[in-house]
Amino acid sequence: MVKIEHKRALLVFRFGDKKFEWPIETRYWRNPILGVAFLALLPVIFSSHPDILSLIATANIYACIAIPLAWQMTGIGRLNFGPQAFVGIGGFTAGLLSIHLGWGPWATFPIVIITGILFGLILSPLTNIAKGLYFSLVTLILPLIFLEITYYFGIFKGETGLFGIAPMISIGNIVAELIIANYFSLIMMVLFLFVVVKVFDSRIGLYSAAINDDEEVANNLGLNIKKWKIICFVVTSVMITLAGWFSAHYFGTFAGVTYLQLPFMLKILMIVMIGGRGDVYGAIYGAYFIVILEKVLTIFGTANYLLFPLILLILLFTLREGIYGIYRKHKYREYYPTIRVRKR
């Protein structure tokens, strides 16, 4: 009845007189629908393991930071070492509004976006003033300043963090709430993925690549680099702010110590590096990889504080282009056949 045959790069299923083809050549493997379907199964499979559900949500939140960051890196041509400042802005805005005014996640949402735009605009001149390492240094210091502020002003509850933030959803059934909120994290990640992939496939992606490669040349070719760097910085910053908004409402708590300190930034950077610099899909692989690695290493007790960065360092040096880069490199070197059209 069902016949399966293997034709060069195709796997062909014959079902009666219907025919289904599935390409098996590696360059078609990056099928986002398959990946998302797999991720969508996870919350159901682990519905009775709240700890694993929270790991999945964490991975999705990390990806929600790393995906816009992948675009930002190319779009402003600089390495932002402080994306977590915007996670903090989103988390604290949502948390403070929720605790003091009793707002739910959908009420805080627009305010968080506005705050994100505001701070994005305030910091965006940096993309034109500070070059290379200076930009990285300045952005590295920003979240640390923010952390000091949360200690200094009582309203941020620097020591303990905010708690009692309105949950993503409340319907009375804890298990169902957890699973639905988990799907929210997945939906948010997929939306981010969709937006950034679309951007990369548009002229804005081309602009970003040009700015990343040589902004001076791009400027001479007629690209208004200042404008596009600011647009890119603000949009990606708002996206990262939303990751903070989500994690505040998902976990119900938000503390500067968790998000604003260097270890968190290291994790995000590692996700981006392991995923492959400036690679959107890689960011997701990276996020899940880091979360799983961190969980696995907890069996070593306190030694994992040493092991975790050690393993990441080794990976960083051995996989220059990231895990995903191994495959990507393979793809990039496959040049199309060179046909000379006209002989001179």
């Binding site: 002229r203 001076e216 040349v217 400027n219 001479n220 070719l221 040049y335 006209r342 001179r344």
Partner: protein, 242 residues
């Protein structure tokens, strides 16, 4: 078309370009020559907006463009190449040119595939169509020079600044490059300011020559007159002229 009026550029004490006045008319191919360090590239950076003149005025089609941002200068119709090729190394040749197609003028309604089509025409024009999907970093020097020309053309300029295209090319490549630039003028009706270190090429290919030395205009005129000027011979002292 292009008018320089007392253009001066100082780098902290060093006067790289000093009170330069000259004019280029539409349709001309003007050669700009001079020994190394004469300020040729600096002058080009001033025109293209990469650098701001310390003093003086640069006019293009009657509009003052001194101090205008580079992208704006490009939108007004001035395009350039680089002495040391500066492609976007991690992009394919086709993408490199597509950036020029998209950005050279405001083209809000152009789709990505339109731009690719346009870009491949420019690539074919310079003879790089077969290498359109190669990463720019893997191209040879000669191909990079052609790519830069294609990219400059893609912005649909009226005026192209060419900086030492011939440096590092062998004899047959030089012949092809000269033919290519002639073809550009024929088909796109652009005006060209051509910087070159080697005088022989300039003699063959241009109608008028401006000689720069220590940032100042030494002399200008027909190539065969300029090459026999004793001051020019002295400026190039020790170097074989023609």
């Amino acid at each position: 078309m292009l008018k320089l009026d007392g253009v001066t550029k100082k780098f902290e004490g060093l006067v790289a370009v000093n009170n330069v006045n000259f004019q280029i008319e539409e349709g001309e191919i003007v050669g700009l020559i001079g020994p190394n360090g004469a300020g040729k590239t600096t002058l080009m950076n001033l025109i293209s907006g990469t650098l701001k003149p310390t003093e003086g005025r640069i006019e293009f089609n009657g509009q003052d463009i001194s101090g205008v941002a580079p992208y704006d200068v490009c939108h007004r119709g001035i395009s350039r190449t680089y002495q040391i090729p500066r492609p976007f190394p991690d992009m394919t040749a086709l993408m490199n040119v597509a950036v020029g197609v998209f950005c050279g003028k405001n083209r809000p309604n152009m789709s990505l595939s339109d731009a690719m089509l346009d870009a491949s025409h420019f690539l074919e024009f310079v003879g790089l169509f077969g290498k359109r999907n190669m990463l720019a970093r893997d191209l040879s020097l000669f191909d990079l020079r052609a790519l830069e020309l294609a990219r400059a053309l893609a912005t649909t300029p009226k005026f192209i600044l060419i900086d030492e295209v011939m440096a590092g090319l062998n004899q047959s490549e030089v012949t092809i490059a000269i033919r290519l630039i002639r073809k550009i003028v024929e088909e796109f009706h652009v005006t060209i300011m051509w910087i070159e270190h080697i005088m022989k090429i300039i003699m063959e290919a241009t109608q008028r020559v401006v000689v720069l030395q220590y940032g100042e205009v030494l002399t200008s005129g027909l190539p065969e007159v300029v090459v026999n000027d004793p001051r020019v011979i002295e400026a190039y002292l020790g170097e074989k002229i023609a």
